[in-house]
């Protein structure tokens, strides 16, 4: 095949890769970091047959942001078609989801033990066994699950059934905000081919053990979801409480979960907070250091395999540096309509971050991006990207690769 890669072209066939100058290329042998295995890449029988022997073997390894960007684009056209088919199956209208997420609308009783138990059962019995199966072609995950989904949705007419709103990418809409906090039993969660376009907040995008052992939900204050072109505008409630439910620690499934102290910022039990290093203020687009008072924080879990919920009203209030370990999943919900700054100076990483914010299928409106020049006081000369995408984006992060910065800070590479 002939690949056009921006400014150059190269040849690739089963036997070799060669550039315009006649240089042969071989795959990198850089090791993966963070314990995350690489994507399943090879999906064509003929290439599989050709890759016999170590010389031709394509080693598993993660991709740098540049590679991810390029590879995503190249396969996008074919898989985009497939995803549109799947959208018909699982897409729900924005208004449906909006109704469930808007705090002012009647919402399901989030601490409802019955719904919770149903969700746990759904994950344990329907999703977990399914998701550890080995699919030859990862694109078959959705059609294969369709049978299960149809069966389950037949029970949707039952009163109090968790399936009464249907499933959106495998997550029951009747329990959607909490369902987003699904997690994994072990450390074996691997992303499926991201070019298939599965939203990363859905377990469809991941292969491995899916579990609902720990769920998070707000006990008192609402989670701030912003639905664009709704009248709803909310300020971020940084004092909100998060309750946790931990299957292993509660002997009585109907028992109320442990709630953190009301008021102020607090940490759900078992999760340590790490303040972001800097945020961008929308007023002047400058990067500021985070402090313990007077500036919103973002709660990141440093504990392995503990999900955290990161919520922001405006992306301008987002911390730009995320600290995470390889097994942490961050569920991140935000509206983006302001500048997001990066201190890495890596425009590709910045672009990746922005792109990652636009992964949900809940809102297909196009993104408008423009780049603002980097500023000298950013502590790193970062580039700013202004995102004018209006939408509800739900992004599930997993540490894919780490980029060390001076001083040992690390940025997470966002996996779409």
């Amino acid at each position: 095949m002939i690949m056009f890669c921006g400014q150059t072209a190269m040849w690739r066939c089963i036997h070799c890769a060669i550039d315009e100058a006649g240089n042969l290329l071989k795959p990198s042998e850089r090791e993966t970091s963070g314990g995350v295995r690489s994507l399943q890449r090879i999906n064509s029988e003929s290439v599989l047959k050709a890759d016999h022997g170590q010389a031709n073997r394509v080693p598993d390894r993660p991709q740098s942001p540049a590679q991810q960007r390029h590879s995503r684009h190249g396969s996008y056209s074919a898989t985009h078609r497939a995803c549109r088919v799947w959208d018909k199956i699982h897409d729900k209208s924005r208004s449906t989801v909006a109704k469930l997420l808007l705090p002012n609308n009647p919402k399901p009783n989030l601490a409802n033990a019955s719904l919770r138990n149903q969700f746990v059962a759904y994950i344990d019995e329907a999703v977990a066994p399914f998701n550890t199966r080995n699919f030859t072609h990862q694109s078959d995950v959705v059609p294969a699950f369709e049978g299960i989904a149809n069966f389950l949705e037949q029970g949707s007419n039952l009163r109090g059934s968790i399936y009464s709103g249907g499933l959106c990418w495998g997550l029951p809409l009747a329990y959607f905000p909490q369902a987003l906090t699904w997690t994994t039993k072990g450390e074996d969660l691997r992303p499926r081919d991201p070019s298939l376009g599965f939203p990363t907040w859905s377990w469809f995008a991941w292969e491995g053990s899916v579990a609902a052992d720990k769920l998070f939900f707000p006990a008192e204050s609402p989670i701030s979801f912003i639905i664009p072109d709704s009248e709803y505008e909310s300020k971020i409630e940084w004092g909100f409480t998060l309750s946790t439910w931990d299957r292993s620690s509660s002997s009585d499934p109907a028992a109320a979960a442990t709630a953190a102290a009301p008021g102020g910022r607090h940490c759900p039990r078992g999760i340590r907070l790490v303040a972001p290093r800097s945020v961008v203020r929308p007023e002047d687009g400058r990067l500021y250091r985070g402090t313990s008072t007077g500036w919103p924080f973002h709660w990141i879990s440093r504990d392995v395999s503990r999900p955290a919920i990161l919520l922001a009203d405006r992306p301008s209030e987002l911390g730009v540096d995320y600290y995470a370990t390889s097994q942490v999943q961050l569920v991140f919900i935000a509206k983006f309509e302001a500048a997001v700054g990066f201190s890495s100076g890596d425009p590709v990483l910045s672009a990746r971050f922005v792109k990652a914010l636009w992964v949900t299928r809940l809102d297909p409106s196009p993104a408008v991006e423009e780049e603002l020049p980097g500023r000298a006081d950013c502590g790193g000369g970062g580039k700013y990207l202004r995102v004018r995408r209006l939408g509800v984006a739900i992004v599930h992060y997993s540490l894919w690769d780490r980029y060390a910065e001076p001083g040992g800070q690390r940025l997470v590479t966002i996996l779409e």
Binding site: I2, A17, S46, A78, D140
Partner: protein, 229 residues
């Protein structure tokens, strides 16, 4: 930014791949040398056994005839499926005419896809460039998903969708537009076809960023196929 280290090597089946090192004159910073493409293709044909791997699946139902600039149905071709080239690219937001039941007849007219007909049929840059490139390389048939799958024929659409892996696999050549936000960016550096490219003064510096063989494989072959289990 981290980049994949790439290095010249003869461990990568070099003696099979390219037995005679290609002598390439200095790389033109503005235009790609199509003779390089021709050499790649010819060498792969003659020296590799890439084409000995079997086809699977079905032939694509429709192909673009780049000489006559129209759509043809493979069921009307005299022989078994001819050699065709497949294009992999990003749709993005680029405006593009698509094959539908309504446009089908029009697309089959000679000259339907020509630049002169651009008032009626909008061909985005990447497809246009691919057609011209294929003509320059001597190929005749091109497969592009937007123009070779009838979008509103449910049964046909799903069949082709499931067959896409086969369509790409069985193609004689695949052109991959690995970069670009959407289909209107096109393939740069093709003299007489598209706009100039801007190669960095140090060509070697470009390599790690763009030319990663692993990514290349991965880019082109993530197609859904029909197997369900």
């Amino acid at each position: 930014m981290e980049s994949a280290p790439v290095e010249q090597t003869d461990r990568f089946d070099a003696h099979i791949a390219f037995p005679n090192k290609i002598n390439v004159p200095e790389i033109d910073p503005e235009w790609i040398n199509l003779d390089v493409f021709r050499t790649w293709m010819r060498t792969c044909d003659e020296e590799h056994n890439c084409s000995s791997y079997p086809s699977f699946g079905s032939a694509p139902a429709w192909l673009i005839d780049v000489d006559k600039e129209r759509l043809i149905s493979t069921s009307f071709l005299p022989t078994s499926t001819p050699r065709y080239c497949a294009l992999s690219y990003v749709w993005g937001n680029a405006k593009t005419s698509k094959l539908t039941r309504a446009t089908q007849t029009g697309f089959c007219q000679p000259g339907a896809f020509s630049a002169k007909n651009s008032d009626n049929v909008v061909i985005p840059a990447v497809i246009r460039h691919s057609m011209e490139l294929l003509k320059a390389l001597g190929g005749q048939y091109l497969w592009v998903d937007a123009l070779c799958i009838v979008q509103d024929d449910e049964i046909h659409f799903h069949t082709e969708l499931r067959n896409m892996g086969a369509i790409y696999n069985n193609a004689y050549l695949t052109i991959v537009a690995a970069t670009g936000w959407d289909a209107s960016e096109g393939l740069r550096g093709l003299h007489g076809i598209s706009s100039r490219r801007q190669l960095a003064s140090n060509f070697a510096d470009d390599l790690p960023k763009y030319l990663d063989p692993e990514t290349m494989i991965w880019v082109c072959i993530t197609q859904p196929t029909s197997s369900l289990f």
